[in-house]
């Protein structure tokens, strides 16, 4: 199934893009999507302890199930304000 991945700040820079399309296996969780990315982009794995995630623009968990067409966002540590 196809998902859209949104990346920001340091993650965006490592991936060289703020938005990607990824094919992931049926039954995947957010953590599986993350693993695909971390395997593909050097340096991304170091973010694992500090990222959070969103599914379809709602805060979510790495353990959440992913549906076809979902927008999965990975959020490095934030610095707004």
């Amino acid at each position: 199934m196809l998902v859209t991945v949104k990346l920001f700040a340091g993650l965006r820079e490592l991936a060289g893009a703020g938005e990607l399309r990824l094919n992931v296996a049926e039954g995947s969780h957010v953590s599986d999507v993350w693993r695909v990315l971390a395997d593909r982009h050097a340096g991304m794995a170091a973010y694992a302890p500090s990222i959070s995630c969103a599914v379809n623009a709602d805060y979510s968990r790495m353990t959440a199930a992913v549906q076809d067409g979902d927008e999965i966002a990975f959020l490095p540590p934030v610095s707004g304000g």
Binding site: K6, V78, G81
Partner: protein, 157 residues
């Protein structure tokens, strides 16, 4: 149109944010404006660039307002955050909190800025004369009770 929660590239205007929460029943309005300083950690800042996951950032502001209203019933809160290049002296964030009671208005405005820094999906990049650096702060976990507790402690005297 009085948006309570907004994330956009437009210049921020404190009066607009304050007007969004004004109410004849509220005698106290506390406004917080975060502006870009001309220096940070000893280096001269030229400008900041703010990047946001806009739909989630707006939802994070709504969530923060909901949290605030649990602690300060009746509080009226508005939050506007800017994105893109923000020059020295310009505002990156404006928060307005209106209440019948000044303690609540102060508490909620302070709570809001602490929570924004903890959970809003917004990232800044500082541009100096001799380079630039992305700033990474808090892990954005809205369900982290300890972070929320910290924000509440800072807000409540």
């Amino acid at each position: 149109m009085r948006d309570l929660f907004r994330v956009s590239g437009q210049l921020l205007d404190a009066a607009t944010v304050t007007a969004a929460v004004e109410d004849a029943r509220c005698g106290a309005i506390t406004t917080f404006v975060g502006t870009v300083r001309n220096h940070n950690a000893g280096r001269l800042v030229q400008w900041l660039d703010y990047e946001a996951y806009e739909p989630l950032a707006v939802k994070s502001f709504e969530r923060i307002a909901q949290e605030a209203s649990e602690r300060w019933p009746g509080i009226r809160l508005a939050i506007h955050h800017r994105t893109g290049r923000v020059a020295v002296g310009e505002a990156s964030v404006v928060i307005a909190a209106a209440s019948a009671h000044r303690a609540d208005a102060f508490g909620a405005a302070r709570y809001a800025i602490e929570r924004i820094k903890q959970i809003a999906p917004i990232w800044k990049r500082e541009h100096f004369q001799d380079g630039e650096v992305s700033i990474e702060g808090a892990t954005a976990d809205p369900d982290d009770r300890s972070a929320r507790q910290t924000a509440m402690e800072r807000a409540c005297s």
